[in-house]
């Protein structure tokens, strides 16, 4: 990695912290809407989906621009998915339910949108754990197979949102469309 790209990577890292910066601003200026707990949960849920889309964009960008430079951001973006998904989960379990595990467990079992959300987070765990270069070398081809879980995680993430919304499906369908396009790219490349 040359000096320039490591410099750029630092900038991208800071930009990726935007969800934290923006919610901190809301917190310190006390400009929450009437339902701050929901706002926090939804904020990090939304950013998790956005980072899933960004992570899935790397391969298509690489093919389209015929440049491997994009690859240096993939691991970082993927870890940000895990980071924001974890804050999303923590704010649901902690802020909304005060870690009342019996209630949370019941919620997971009884309600499909919670179940797919929790499943998606659990599937992110092995990806985060094996994100290092060292693990990649140890696992070899299995690493690639394992990290294909991200496709399932993306679908579960959208389902989680889709099943939560009361009536207006515009937002979840937007993510569904973006993720569908990003996944279709992969099928097309395979054929080629």
């Amino acid at each position: 990695m040359n000096y320039n790209s490591s410099y750029l990577k630092k900038i991208v890292f800071i930009v990726c912290l935007w969800p934290i910066i923006s919610i901190s601003f809301v917190l310190f200026t006390n400009s929450f809407s009437a339902n701050p707990v929901n706002e926090i949960i939804h904020h990090f849920g939304k950013w998790t989906l956005i980072f899933i889309c960004l992570t899935l964009s790397i391969s298509p960008l690489r093919r389209i621009t015929k440049s491997n430079n994009w690859l240096i951001y993939r691991k970082m973006l993927g870890l940000f998915v895990f980071f924001y998904a974890s804050i999303h989960l923590l704010s649901y379990a902690g802020l909304d339910h005060h870690f009342a595990w019996n209630i949370i467990l019941e919620d997971i079992i009884k309600h499909r949108y919670v179940l797919v959300g929790a499943t998606a987070w659990l599937l992110l765990l092995p990806l985060a754990i094996t994100s290092s270069q060292k693990m990649k070398k140890i696992l070899k081809y299995n690493w690639i197979k394992l990290h294909r879980l991200v496709y399932i995680i993306a679908v579960l993430g959208v389902l989680h949102y889709l099943w939560l919304v009361k009536k207006d499906l515009t937002q979840p369908m937007l993510y569904a469309a973006i993720i569908t396009i990003l996944l279709l790219f992969r099928i097309k490349f395979k054929k080629n």
Binding site: F32, S33, A34, N35, P36, V37, N38, I40, L95, D96, H97, H98, I103, E106, D107, K110, H111, R112, Y113, W163, L164, K166, K167, D168, T170
Partner: protein
């Protein structure tokens, strides 16, 4: 309805101190407030936990799909909505249909203050000091036939002023319904205001239903028509998703929404670190209304 400027609104501290002042004097509020007869829900006030929700929150966090589906949409998109002149048509199973103007309702019915909890089907709640009159005052204006068993409410259809009605997110106009006995219950009101001021557009101006023991969506806003009918009306939400939104829609912690729990609620205005509160059967109005549903399977009649 003209936009209420923040400077015109009685400040909440004055509003609340006035109330405690009235109570200290032991006077009926009606003697102090010209043309209005205050109603104190003492049992509710006794519970310190049921503090009034801030005016700012009540007017900025709304579900009113006629003006858009996000919570901020109604306050942002309802500014140009006009509410004068306004009247309500009462028809159906009545001897003689009538049309009643807003002015005559305000003049002839006793406007009271009613502090009610409002529980949204989404799992949040508020405590709102409504102004309004019991719906039965209005229904008694017509002679209802014996054949009438239900009441259907129709909200205004005005897609040019209500941007949400330009999409088919719900079947328009918005309709809701009650059983006749539910509609006649004194707790069921037509709200004309809140916090001692006229009703803001985003809260359903100029006249909205408030049925405090049912989920918020039952309380239709900007009502233009009331129809007495023989059989159970099919509401907009029932048409949109009958598996999720039934005719009764009573607040009930024991009957979950098919996709989420109804056991607890988040009270708007509670600290960010506060836990959710347990939801009460019939939203805490059990002693007043539970007799309506004796012997009914509330899981079946959700």
């Amino acid at each position: 309805m003209k936009k209420v400027l923040s400077s015109e609104i009685t400040s909440e501290s004055i509003y609340k101190s006035r109330r405690s002042f009235i109570k200290k004097l032991g006077l009926s509020a009606g003697s102090l407030m010209v043309g209005s007869n205050f109603f104190f829900n003492n049992s509710l006030e006794a519970e310190e936990k049921d503090k009034l929700t801030k005016y700012r929150d009540i007017v900025s966090y709304n579900n009113y799909y006629e003006f858009g589906t996000s919570k901020e949409d109604p306050s942002e998109n309802s500014e140009k909505f006009t509410t004068t002149p306004w009247s309500i048509q009462i028809e159906g199973e009545v001897d003689k249909p009538i049309t009643v103007s807003y002015e005559s309702m305000i003049k002839n019915f006793p406007i009271q203050e009613r502090i009610y909890r409002l529980r949204c089907v989404e799992g949040w709640s508020m405590v709102i000091p409504w102004m309004g009159f019991s719906l039965n005052h209005l229904l008694k204006k017509v002679s209802i036939k014996n054949t009438a068993k239900f009441v259907e409410f129709e909200s205004v259809y005005r897609p040019k002023q209500m941007i949400g009605q330009q999409s088919n997110i719900l079947p328009w106009p918005y309709t809701e319904g009650l059983r006749l006995d539910e509609a006649m219950h004194p707790l069921t009101i037509m709200a004309t205001g809140l916090y001692g001021k006229e009703l803001p557009n985003q809260n359903g101006a100029p006249l909205r239903l408030v049925v405090p023991w049912k989920y918020g969506f039952k309380s239709a806003k900007a009502i233009v028509k009331i129809k007495l009918v023989k059989s159970m009306p099919v509401s907009s939400w029932m048409k949109a998703a009958s598996q999720e939104y039934g005719f009764y829609s009573n607040v009930n912690p024991g009957v979950d929404h098919p996709r989420w729990s109804q056991a607890t609620e988040r009270r708007i205005g509670d600290s960010i670190l506060s836990p959710r509160r347990p939801t009460k059967l019939f939203n805490g109005y059990e002693s007043e209304v539970s007799s309506f549903y004796k012997g009914m399977d509330l899981k079946k009649y959700y």
